[in-house]
């Protein structure tokens, strides 16, 4: 099914309208057990092997909230500069859909555990944009549906569906922004930067790995346009389950262009949910909200209120880690690099490995060079992330130490890294097994230099005559003769010495 949607150009859309965004992000917590029962949350288990009467909603079962779930929610709230409720309750959100066997989702309604905060996000050029946070509340994930009988697993046209409730009841924190206004043409970038920063924050807090590709963090994008100069928000669309940073940016951009086209034609935007398509970056109409959703929220009678003591909240506040943006800026200054370089390091997921390598004794320049060069390339080619490579920061630090003390040159160091990645053992073991040592025996080196001069008499004459730049060819010959195991700088020195020429 192809739906053609007329679009106006992004530039034209922004010339007439101001975008208003609202972002809702769901984060699956990394707790060992579910939010209201002791079932394991381990990934990859057999279907329906992690369920119990509580998460299946069987009669007579009673939920009890997971203490780590509540603690994680408070940590997230605090890191987002929110106020933490002194007293709040869970509520039942009633709906009929087979992904929730209870026919309601245990959530929070008008008493979220955290509210009124903000997250400062930094755009690529360094500009800081403040995103206001409306609330962060606790709830639970739904089961996983598999639709059978339709095309490509879609619900449309399916003859029936199959449900696995292992995921039903896994703790979720939903983080909702206030309307984001004033981003103008940078709205897509702000949306992406916000979700990226939130992901870094969640990881830094250690409450979830927040892997979007694994559904541990999912984003809904609300967007509306208002004519420039107006202060009345337009009707919004809600694009569901936008599940990568790039998709967040594309979804906002597409909806801006689509809304502008509809409004420009004198049409009206329908309030509806929309589906985002990864392949071409478009959205298509989902469910039209004919009537306001009526979830008949009411306080959950089976759970008692959560009233975090101020002592506990202050304890958690005091233990918060340095916020990712602050940490990045500190490291950037310590390392003396540009915003752009830092952004590349962040995008590559290299901050933590580099920091760990420096902590293991390497200098910042070498640590950066290896993780952003050789290792990033290897990760890229093998489709892995840096932290999945079979090499530790300590091993990288050891390689840099061997370069600093002169036992390895860069070329040999690369071979050592290669050996470690290939599972040949520690750097020292690889050096040993592969026989990778810089030839520092001056006698052996001297012979190789003499041979190179003798074998390239014409070049040697040029150098004697003052063309020092030609020395590269002789260095190359020596390196070749020693199979790369010589210290190139020392070779150059020796050649010039023997030819009686000084540099500069």
């Amino acid at each position: 099914m192809t739906v053609t949607t007329d679009l106006v150009s992004y530039e034209d859309a922004l010339a007439s309208y101001d975008p208003v965004m609202g972002l809702e992000v769901h984060v699956e917590l990394g707790t060992r057990t579910k939010m209201f029962c002791g079932c394991s949350t381990e990934l990859g288990a057999e279907p329906n092997s992690q369920t119990c009467p509580t998460c299946l909603g069987l009669p007579g079962s009673l939920p009890v909230v997971n203490a780590v779930g509540v603690e994680s929610a408070i940590k997230i709230g605090l890191a987002l500069h929110c106020e933490i409720a002194e007293w709040c309750r869970f509520a039942r959100k009633n709906y009929f859909y087979p992904d929730m066997p209870k026919n309601f989702q245990t959530s929070q309604y008008d008493e979220p555990i955290a509210f009124n905060g903000y997250l400062d996000v930094q755009l690529e050029d360094g500009e800081v944009f403040r995103v206001e946070i409306e609330r962060a509340h606790m709830e639970e994930d739904t089961g996983k549906s598999t639709h059978v009988g339709g095309a490509t697993g879609r619900i449309h046209g399916a003859s029936h569906s199959l449900l696995d409730y292992n995921r039903a009841g896994i703790p979720l924190i939903e983080i909702v922004t206030k309307p984001i206004v004033g981003a103008g043409d940078r709205a897509p970038e702000v949306a992406k930067a916000y979700v990226a920063e939130l992901r870094e924050l969640i990881r830094a807090l250690g409450v979830s790995e927040a892997r979007m590709e694994m559904g541990q963090m999912r984003c809904d994008v609300n967007l509306s346009l208002m004519p420039k100069g107006s202060e009345t928000f337009g009707t919004r669309s809600e694009t569901k389950n936008v599940n990568s940073l790039r998709s967040v940016e594309r979804a906002v951009r597409f909806e801006v262009q689509r809304h502008a086209a509809v409004l420009g034609d004198g049409g009206t935007i329908v309030q509806e949910t929309r589906h985002f398509h990864e392949d071409d970056g478009t959205t298509t109409s989902g469910r039209v909200k004919e009537e306001a959703e009526d979830y008949r929220y009411f306080p959950e009678p089976d759970l008692v209120p959560v009233a975090p003591s101020r002592e506990w909240v202050e304890e958690l506040r005091a233990a918060l880690p340095e916020l990712p943006r602050v940490r990045r800026n500190r490291l950037r200054e310590e390392w003396g690099i540009s915003e752009h370089d830092m952004q590349s390091i962040l995008n590559a997921g290299a901050i933590d490995p580099i920091v760990a390598t420096i902590e293991a004794g390497a200098d910042p320049v070498s640590a950066r060079k290896w993780w952003m060069g050789e290792l990033a390339r290897n990760a890229n080619e093998s489709g892995r992330s840096l932290d999945e490579l079979p090499i530790t920061p300590e091993q990288v630090a050891r390689v840099t130490a061997l370069v600093v003390d002169g036992s390895l040159n860069d070329k040999l160091a690369r071979q050592v890294i290669e050996g470690v990645l290939a599972g040949e053992g520690d750097p020292d073991a690889v050096v040993e097994k592969r026989g990778l040592k810089v030839v520092s025996d001056e006698g052996a080196l001297g012979v190789a230099v003499d041979e190179a001069i003798a074998g390239n008499a014409a070049i040697a004459d040029k150098i004697r005559g003052g063309k020092v730049a030609a020395v590269g060819a002789l260095v190359g010959a020596v390196m070749k003769a020693t199979r790369g195991q010589a210290d190139a700088a020392r070779v150059k020195e020796l050649i010039l010495e023997k030819l009686g020429v000084s540099e500069g």
Binding site: C37, P47, G69, R89, F96, S145, S161
Partner: protein
């Protein structure tokens, strides 16, 4: 006190996936009206200094350590399912044909 209308009962019935006959709509409208009227009398005596109650016990912060407890086996979990397939609960078509 505005009465509960027939339309409101029909709306509730739809939300609760209950099929009600025409005479039942009238019947329940009257009954629901009586019940809500009775409950509303509480508001006459409860002043602002009486906080609303959602739980009969004065407890807060009943929490569980994040420790795994045994789950049901898939066979046990599925034992009451009207239909199953691939060790999953089988449910009828969710969306009707448009």
């Amino acid at each position: 006190m505005p009465g509960i209308t027939r339309e409101e009962v029909a709306h509730l019935a739809r939300l609760a996936r209950l099929e009600l006959k025409a005479e039942e709509l009238d019947h329940f409208a009257g009954q629901l009206d009586d019940i809500i009227g009775a409950v509303a009398r509480v508001a006459e005596v409860a002043d602002r200094d009486v906080p609303p109650t959602s739980h009969p016990l004065p407890l807060t912060n009943v929490m569980r350590a994040d420790e795994v407890r045994p789950s049901l086996t898939p066979e046990q979990a599925l034992s009451c399912a009207p239909a199953q397939e691939q060790q999953r609960f089988k449910v009828p078509q969710i969306l009707g044909e448009d």
